[in-house]
Symmetry: C2
Subunit: 373 residues, 2 copies
Amino acid sequence: MKKDSLGIVHTQYLTFAEPPDTLQLKSGRSIGPVTLAYETYGKLNANKSNAILVCHALSGDAHAAGISKDDKTPGWWDNMIGPGKALDTDLYFVICSNVIGGCKGSTGPSSINPETQKPYALDFPLITIADMVEAQRHLIDSFGIEKLLCVIGGSMGGMQALQWASVYPERIIAAIPIATALKHSPQQIAFNEVMRQSIMADSVWREGYYYEHGQPENGLAVARMIGHITYMSDLSMEEKFSRKLKNENLSFQFKDDFEVEGYLRYRGYNFVKRFDANSYLYITKAIDYFDLSGEKFMSAVKKTAVRFLVISFKSDWLYPAHQSQDIVRLLKRKHAYTTYFDLISTYGHDAFLIETDDETRLIKNFLANVSPD
Amino acid sequence: MKKDSLGIVHTQYLTFAEPPDTLQLKSGRSIGPVTLAYETYGKLNANKSNAILVCHALSGDAHAAGISKDDKTPGWWDNMIGPGKALDTDLYFVICSNVIGGCKGSTGPSSINPETQKPYALDFPLITIADMVEAQRHLIDSFGIEKLLCVIGGSMGGMQALQWASVYPERIIAAIPIATALKHSPQQIAFNEVMRQSIMADSVWREGYYYEHGQPENGLAVARMIGHITYMSDLSMEEKFSRKLKNENLSFQFKDDFEVEGYLRYRGYNFVKRFDANSYLYITKAIDYFDLSGEKFMSAVKKTAVRFLVISFKSDWLYPAHQSQDIVRLLKRKHAYTTYFDLISTYGHDAFLIETDDETRLIKNFLANVSPD
């Protein structure tokens, strides 16, 4: 085992079993019992002041670091979390939970509806980024943590970090939103919408009530392929695939002739083994409805001393740098403590998962200057 | 009727009925009989020196200008073709034909296979951009035209213009490739591939043999939605839709809440009424396989006196300006007569269909300086 590895980790579960521990949702509905899958790394100190909450992106889960006890896979941000790493588990107590609406152990549309004893499917209520944060707040409360040292995340995880700063500024010291936005542009909504359309166009989807029959694999695979295009850049695709062919003999019958085609098909059809199509619908809608632009975020920032590190990546065309700069502009206008970097990378939106060396330097330095007040 | 309108036009058909008038394809196969649907505007002069060939893009057809006799729709480039317009029918004889592999009157996968008396479906042979041009050459021959004054087209139409310059430089005086490329980048291939995947993921596609049952409407609609995102720009979407909602009461059940969602659904499901899914597969593959980069085009340009006007649009991220600049660089290196403009527009790739005022100024001026030699 490498010195900086967390080794084997296992996922834990917190269930809010009874009122008032059901979750009151932004839509007006409430839901319960709610279970959150989560993992923790490092040790919570005596005065509970060293906790960092990591928030995952669209298809992420609670398994952010270490090697999963169950399937031996490394966590999705393992390069960032561990002894001596950016989120140094020798210093910090790191928490990551699967969002509600998800399908990796937290309550979502594939969970059993206690009223029917069948999966919720589309009876599952609308979920917002605010609801995801509210569920995380329950989890933080369960540890007796009054104030988080930091909330950090990329993409949808960054939206959660911004949401924390907006609704619970008194409960966090710092926020690190990476490769994210205060709201989706119509182009971002459009990409999410065609992914949803792809799922719903699959007749196997059955208006969402597919759980007895198996899920709409084709529609979900195509959705994921669309996603993968937007996560990479033109340049990273050029470097990885160029126009390389899989076979010398071209099939010309709509097989995957080019390597980039094979890659997309592989990633798309692998994804359906590990992700629920309805969760994809609910979570992408939550992202599209998220909107902290304008006065909403401004008025929250006004009353906060939250410190911000904002990071974007030059080749990220899905969450372009100008969206991070919009965040920074709002924060600076309110004289919030704000550091911003637009990192050089060819990896596109995926950079937040890949450019961990650069992120480590920035984040270590930032966290070293953020101490419990 | 407006003074500059061509009025009612009707589509004509040319069939290459017998060998040697079958079409020898790049794949090694041949096909016949081949029918080409085409329209002409203006009059061919006595020495047949005033002919301009217009090449259409992925979903275009022979009806480029005027009002269709059948369905009363204007042509897809009506603002560009007519009396006094960019392609001035008082001066020029303008020809536009539907590509082979298409579904708008030219032979394609939905045409009847003479061997089986059923639609070809996936028995239709592979089609390349070179084959499309070869079919057009038959059409040009049928008019007795030795030399075209100009070949012009945007997107895939631009590829055909480049192909003409590459294989028949002695038969054209000028070429105007607009918003196009010498070859697709892996990102462009990837977008075409997910569109194909969306069609093929639809169980109604039936491995291509769907003609007795109706076509894979859902898969084709989603493919077209993906296309529409790539044809617009982030900015043009912001101007057109921003985050405007269709209804005040949000449905949150995966309806089209945002205007941009409604637009995509409308365009997607409208498209299936007028386009064949298999044609979409064949034509996108032809585009992906097109590759005139490097020596292939260079060696053709070497022996040609073809004059070029190359046009790109600043907000076109599907066919970014650097791809047009690659064309220009090759041409300049061979001292070819080349004029290049990177036009300002917010419309993205659609700009070649929309920015007709700017295109008109450039093209009129260019054509005025191109005379039969």
